[in-house]
Subunit: 253 residues, 2 copies
DNA sequence: TCGGCGACTGGACCATTGATCCGGTCACTG
DNA sequence: CAGTGACCGGATCAATGGTCCAGTCGCCGA
């Protein structure tokens, strides 16, 4: 390693002058923008999980020093917030065609859930205010669709929140349970539950560990229940019911 | 401080012999058990939040050195897991009196939610397998009650998960939104949303920021929807409906 | 042509944190 | 009273988030 080491301290010059490539200190990669950082952060998070994301590792992947990142980003939390918002861009906002509000909302929620599961680290980050443009756009669609469907105020907030919270909770639990130490913790937990069978009879027989898998139908069922409840509220109140132009509303009522 | 300092290194002797109280190196507090650690951890978490919990601070509050904690506990995550399970002991498990399954489940879920909101740090920790005895006991009650009510398998898991996920998501969002930088971030967010009013019209008019507060009725509404859906499933399937001994089931069907 | 200015980069450095090493102390037993 | 095992803690390590400040590069006005 030819101990040039920390003694000389010549910042910027990576070796002798003769070895230094011309122009921009070498390295022809795009000049490191906030977007590139976040993009790479998402890749790193996808690949190695939330706790393996450090500023140094991220910088290394980007071919720069860790300090440089702080010029584009104030703190590490910024990176996380930006990454969280970025993946929400993957959720396609359903076009407001004539397929009714239920179809639109179902599509949105399903896409939302798919994204959260595709990036398992995201579930653990949901405990922070989500105010990025992509998140807001999806929420806007949700509120707008519910409004068009005729949902009014005491129930409007409940519906929007209920749906969001349901997705978030489901994704959080599922990705926790799946990603966290695959097949090892789960078997240990199963064993432990079977050992205490007399203490938790129902849980041991029908618990989440017994029926491993098939989260999808369970999720869909719960979603249906919520939507049914919302729809029933519209029918009861009755006002502005078919301002939505959705045939689905009338059909199911 | 009379620089006796790090030079001498006399472990265990906190000062001269004359100053040392007799017996057990002084300090008459109970001899530091795992329970006492977790108890204090919960107190610290309640008082200062999740990110202020360090092993050193915790040890300081307990009047010991940080190293000692690792004799009772393997890692910091252990402390968090134990703390999370400990607060669930506060949730009273409803007695199976004749008030029907809906009343029991509602009571459980409400208690659950109350605890999560009373200890706001807990919401952020939900992204880890919850296998403590207290959590398991509550889940056991949930499953047992649903089984007694006559909910069968495709819908059983969906019901149990749906309810849990709904509480978790709701508590996560609410305590995030409330605890996180009170009244400052919220106003900034409100402002930002009002600024982009034309981009997010529905959100700005009826968003979570507009109708600040009254989370309770919203939560109750969503819970009703879920319970209605579960109940409808029982009525449809019809088998083993009144094996529960609950009068409520028959009454509402 | 040149001086400098602003955008950007990174090596050294700092404080904090989780965790470990290892030399202790204490109550209790034979 | 020696010995044993439960328990304690100062020093220390490695990793991490974040800052300081000395640099480099492209560009723009004089």
């Amino acid at each position: 390693m030819s101990k040039r080491g920390p003694a000389t301290h010549r910042p910027g010059s990576a070796g002798d002058v003769w070895l230094r490539p011309p122009g921009r200190t070498g390295r022809d990669a795009p000049p490191l923008s906030r977007d590139r950082i976040v993009e790479e952060a998402v890749a790193l998070l996808d690949a190695e999980g939330a706790d393996r994301l450090t500023m140094r590792r991220l910088a290394e992947r980007l071919g720069t020093g860790s300090t440089t990142l702080y010029w584009h980003v104030k703190t590490k939390d910024d990176v996380l917030d930006l990454a969280l918002d970025m993946i929400f861009a993957e959720v396609r906002i359903p076009s407001g065609d004539g397929r009714g509000w239920r179809a639109g909302i179902t599509a949105l929620i399903d896409g939302w859930r798919a994204v959260l599961l595709r990036h398992p680290w995201s579930a653990a980050l949901l405990g922070r205010p989500m105010l990025g443009p992509n998140v807001l756009a999806r929420s806007e669609f949700l509120y707008a669709t519910l409004l068009e469907a005729g949902v009014v105020e005491p129930r409007l907030t409940a519906a929007a929140y209920g749906l969001s919270n349901y997705v978030i909770g489901s994704a959080l639990m599922q990705s926790t349970w799946l990603a966290d130490a695959d097949e090892e913790v789960r078997r240990a937990a199963r064993e432990r539950l079977r050992a205490d069978r007399e203490r938790y009879p129902a849980l041991a027989a029908h618990g989440p560990l017994a029926t491993d898998g098939d989260w999808d139908t369970g999720f869909a069922l719960g979603l249906t229940w919520l939507l049914d409840g919302i729809e029933a509220g519209i029918a009861t109140t009755g006002d502005a019911a078919d301002a939505a132009g959705g045939t689905d509303t009338a059909a199911r009522a």
